[in-house]
């Protein structure tokens, strides 16, 4: 296996332009090294991008831009501020401290695990991903980038370079809740992120709900979102959202939990998340 260790974006894109088809991009390595050891991936080449300084930036004035190499640990510390607590909370639950200090947000997204913790949080913030190649650049919604279990629309010659999120406005609150068998170092049985925005009168004007570990990819629960919007966060509204949160979702039976458990737990998580969002929004 070839190893290409690069320290500039151009060098990385050069490698991908010629070797992209059989090349595995390696950043923190917390997923890739495990997959290599298990024989789940057998790339002809590894492209080590971790030393590309240009991919480490964090812009927080106005819209958020995260370089692909921003680590979970940085996010967990809350560098994005109070409007993005779901992102911090999700990053803080990715593996343990050792994986958080090297694991990257770009890697977590590109790994496209059904259980990826940060993805639901990014989805409720309408995140976009920017992909670069020697030929050019494109920016697409994260929801369109992830197409299935371990599947994205990244072309072989593309590198995910940045993740963008619009600024959250006044009256917003967000949260990430994770269900596991123990209190840390868990692969999510279910992950649920929510973001609610309220107007001065307490009406929910914007709602986002996203789930991990219930299907082949993390996804928005648009039925629940629709149920939450349009009035104050009263019990009936939350009940309606809880009833709708699994619409179109077919929770999976796997080693970690049964589909039946996931069905039981998700509506309760939604109720809990709604309460926390309202509190954080000051409503």
């Amino acid at each position: 296996m070839e190893l290409h260790a690069v320290d500039s974006l151009d060098a990385a894109l050069d490698v991908l332009a010629t070797r992209g088809e059989r090349c595995q991009v390696l950043a923190g390595g917390t997923d890739v090294m495990v997959q290599l050891a298990r024989g789940e991936i057998t790339p002809a080449a590894l492209l080590h991008v971790e030393r590309i300084e240009a991919l480490r930036g964090i812009e927080v004035d106005g819209p958020i831009t995260l370089g692909a190499l921003v680590t979970h640990r940085e996010l967990a510390k809350g560098v994005l501020g109070d409007g993005f607590r779901s992102v911090a909370e999700s990053a803080a639950t990715v593996g343990g401290r050792q994986t958080q200090v090297v694991g990257t947000i770009g890697g977590n997204v590109c790994n496209a695990s059904p259980a990826a913790d940060t993805v639901p949080a990014l989805l409720v913030h309408d995140a976009t991903v920017t992909l670069r190649s020697s030929a050019g650049s494109r920016t697409v919604p994260l929801s369109a980038f992830l197409v299935g279990r371990r599947a994205t629309t990244r072309a072989p010659d593309e590198l995910l370079t940045a993740i963008g999120m619009p600024a959250t406005g006044e009256g917003s609150g967000d949260v990430y809740l994770k269900v596991g068998r123990r209190s840390a170092m868990e692969v999510a049985i279910v992950g649920l992120a929510m973001r609610l925005r309220f107007d001065e009168a307490g009406t929910v004007t914007e709602a986002r709900v996203a789930l991990a570990s219930v299907g082949p990819r993390p996804q928005r629960a648009t039925g629940a979102e629709a149920a939450l919007v349009g009035g104050p966060l009263e019990p009936d509204r939350v009940d309606a959202a809880a009833s709708a949160v699994l619409d179109g979702v077919e929770p999976v039976d796997d080693l970690r939990a049964t589909a039946a458990y996931r069905r039981r737990v998700v509506p309760g998580l939604l109720r809990r998340a709604a309460g926390i969002c309202a509190q954080r929004a000051g409503r």
């Binding site: 269900v179 068998r181 123990r182 209190s183 080693l255 049964t258 458990y261 737990v265 109720r271």
Partner: protein, 760 residues
């Protein structure tokens, strides 16, 4: 000055923390090559093709061996029902079929993978109840031909590998006149020992003998097992112990050692090393057995237990290990620590097409106490009695006579345990602090200290330090690195850092019964104390000449021999040791110790292989838990332990063992899932899916040591480390059921079951 009961750093602590310690898995020998095993991919089947030629043709390969290359021998700790390799029939997933030795580990694994193996799958015996039915396939069609490793045969038949039955008179009569009959059934899953260091071994065949390097809890047992498998006398095998990265019972019987030994012979005597991958280790580890426990009590209106029936069906896996010996433990735990009428006990150990089960800290007791203590809560609830009061009313007292006729002379200690916890956390306050989804649980237990034999030689060195030669092993507990070390230091009047204890070597040290059942501090500490006594007498005899005093007027303390009452008249023991070289010869003493089994009634039960519990200890635990009503997860908020320990030798060592056992018990109760599919294969196969609890899941244990020094123990010590694992599943289950107001009778308690119960 005494070091007993003082906080003394453990002798092996620095090396383990700094990374200097060489564990068994790190051990290398000059010229060493590597081995790998080909294991059965299915749990039951017939081998229809086994072709090793492709492996032999692989690069770097020195040897490939199968059943055809192994002696035609059966081995086993209690019953000789194991072959080294499967020959025609495979009985569990992971069973070795062939072994390869090659230059590198990668070459060995590649060669093992190149062996052509066809197995025609057969129906797997998995379900314990079905295994006992007359039409079940037999895991061992030849079971009748098997012989015990020692002693007379014991009750067993078909898929029942061992059976212990007590049927005293009066049970049915008592049920007939009962005010109420309370019935429960409990199911307990397996538990993987999940030590950090996977099993490994380096085997060397040289000079006609086998040497095995291994990090093992019981080197003499490895010696005996290797000898059985390889059909040689025990003295043809030497077992050299190394620093061990945890065992918890799983490293009491041989694992990879006989394979490494035979591979070395096949490879012309080159040392061969075998190391389990984590998945191999998990799949083939003798985990704690799964079991079904049924319990039925005839009670009077006031809660008096008029009679009881207890039935246990335990999973032996595909062969027997230590398990038949342990079946009788059901008899010793059937009433827990509470008085009751005649009790009928039926304990059966059942063969299945699954990995053999074996010893795990608190053997059999974890699920038996879970059953008994859950059942006590059930009775109390039915009769609307306070759970703690009810237990206190029926609690064993001094002089309690048990079902096997054994008398517990000091069982009144149990009440002191309840009182000690009451002082820390008054039950009424805990009850008053209850709110929705918060619950409390209480339970109590008694347990043994393993009586196995031990020995030690203590030598006084010419610089005033001491060496202790023993085959005892510090399995991480500190029993050697703190316990034995402190005991010898105390007796010789020297600092603990001046006591050096060997690692085990069956060629060098006398027999040792292994680090099991909390025995090492007590049994080996006692043997070392006897040896040190002899050294002290010799020191005094030599010093008497130097000090011109009578030996009886001398005392050994603070590194010197001094005249009692005239501490200024003294001679350093280093000088005594040096002088002795040229007068009486080197100063050393030897000690041996074994605890006799307490008296019991041999006719109380059939199949009574483990007849009574020596050196009893007493335990009371309380847990307070909070259930998350949204997720069904359980958080242990408080955990309290009162425990009889004889005498605390090391406060840190004692607390560490209690705390560690509680952590392991919390994992068993709440986190660790080791399920077996209908095909007999484990579902959890790595430490990613086998969830060990983390530090954040474990509260700081509130601990009270009860000290009633044992006149036969070194400085009064009894066993400490095993007992505290017995009760966490019991009291946490009681607390969870209290919290949600519904019964949950399975181990582990899963968020799925909790949430389903809450939402039902």
């Amino acid at each position: 000055m005494t070091v007993i009961g003082e906080r003394v750093p453990r002798a092996d602590g620095q090396a383990k923390v700094s990374g200097e310690a060489v564990y068994g898995v790190d051990h290398e020998e000059p010229g060493m090559i590597w081995g790998a095993l080909l294991r059965s991919p299915v749990s039951s089947g017939t081998i229809t093709r086994l072709d090793t030629a492709p492996a032999l043709a692989m690069p770097g390969v020195h040897a490939v061996i199968t059943a055809a290359d192994a002696p035609d021998a059966y081995a086993g700790w209690v019953l000789r029902d194991q072959r080294l390799f499967a020959s025609d029939r495979v009985r569990y997933e992971g069973q070795p079929i062939a072994a390869v030795a090659a230059e590198t580990l990668a070459q060995a694994r590649a060669a093992a993978a190149a062996i052509v193996l066809d197995v025609e799958a057969l129906p797997a015996v998995v379900d314990l109840e079905q295994a006992m039915t007359p039409d079940s396939p037999l895991v061992h069609p030849d079971w009748e031909s098997y012989v015990p490793a020692a002693g007379p045969d014991f009750p067993r038949h078909g898929n029942v590998a061992a059976e212990c039955i007590a049927d005293p008179p009066g049970v049915d009569e008592a049920f007939a006149r009962a005010y109420r009959v309370i019935t429960d059934e409990f199911v307990a899953q397996r538990q993987y020992q999940a030590y950090i260091e996977p099993k490994s071994a380096v085997g060397i065949f040289r000079g006609g003998r086998y040497t095995v390097h291994t990090a093992h809890q019981f080197p003499f047992n490895v010696r005996d097992r290797v000898a059985q498998f390889l059909d040689v006398r025990p003295s043809a095998v030497r077992v050299v112990g190394h620093t061990i990265g945890g065992g918890f019972g799983a490293k009491l019987d041989a694992g990879l050692e006989p394979y490494a030994a035979l591979l070395s012979r096949a490879a012309g005597g080159l040392p061969v090393k075998l190391v389990n991958t984590r998945t191999e280790d998990l799949l083939t580890c003798p985990s704690r057995e799964g079991a079904i426990t049924r319990i039925r009590s005839a009670v009077a209106a006031d809660g008096t237990i008029l009679a009881r029936e207890l039935e246990v069906i335990a999973d032996n896996g595909a062969c027997s290990g230590e398990m038949p010996w342990l079946a009788a433990i059901a008899l010793h735990c059937a009433r827990g620590v509470y008085q009751g009428g005649p009790t009928r006990v039926t304990a059966r150990l059942v063969y299945t097409n699954t990995a053999p089960t074996g010893a795990f800290r608190g053997v059999n007791g974890t699920y038996l106490y879970h059953a008994v203590e859950r059942h006590m809560d059930h009775i109390a609830a039915e009769l609307t009695l306070d759970r703690r009061d009810y237990r206190l009313r029926l609690l064993f007292g001094d002089g309690e006579e048990l079902l096997n006729g054994q008398v517990l002379h000091e069982a009144g200690i149990l009440r002191q345990g309840f009182d000690a916890l009451e002082a820390l956390a008054p039950w009424a306050d805990l009850e008053a602090g209850r709110r929705p989804y918060r619950g409390i649980g209480i339970g109590a237990a008694w347990w043994l200290t393993n009586p196995g034999p031990g020995s030690a030689v203590v030598s006084l060195r010419e610089d005033g330090t001491a060496a202790v030669v023993t085959a005892a092993n510090d399995n991480g507990s500190g029993a050697v690195s703190i316990g034995v070390t402190q005991i010898v230091a105390e007796r010789l009047g020297i600092p603990p850092e001046d006591v050096f204890v060997t690692l085990p070597d069956t060629d060098i040290a006398g027999y040792d019964g292994g680090s099991q059942g909390s025995r090492t501090t007590r049994a080996v500490g006692k043997a070392a104390l006897i040896a040190a006594d002899e050294v002290v007498e010799k020191i005094k005899a030599v010093a008497a000449g130097l000090l011109e005093a009578a030996p009886d007027d001398l005392e050994v303390a603070e590194g010197s021999v001094r005249v009692k009452g005239a501490p200024g008249t003294r001679v350093p023991i280093a000088m005594v040791a040096s002088t002795a070289l040229n007068t009486v010869g080197p100063l050393q003493g030897t000690g041996s110790f074994v605890t006799p089994f307490p008296d019991f009634n041999p006719s109380c039960a059939s199949g009574l292989l483990f007849p009574s519990f020596p050196t009893p200890t007493y335990h009371v635990h309380i847990a307070e838990v909070e259930v998350d009503p949204v997720t069904g997860t359980v958080r242990v908020l408080r955990y309290l332990v009162a425990q009889e320990v004889g005498r605390v030798i090391s406060p840190d060592g004692t607390y560490g063992q209690v705390s560690g056992a509680v952590a392991q018990g919390i994992g068993y109760a709440l986190h660790e899932s080791l399920r077996i599919g209908e095909d007999g294969r484990y579902r959890e196969r790595t430490l990613e899916s086998y969830r060990l609890p983390l530090a954040v899941d474990i509260p700081r244990v509130e601990f009270v040591a009860l000290e009633h020094p044992d006149p036969d123990g070194p400085y009064g010590a009894k066993g400490v480390a095993e007992g505290p694992v017995l009760l966490p599943a019991a009291v946490i289950a009681n607390a969870v059921c209290d919290a949600i107001g519904r019964p949950l009778n399975s181990i582990p308690i899963t968020p799925e079951e909790v949430l389903a119960a809450i939402q039902s």
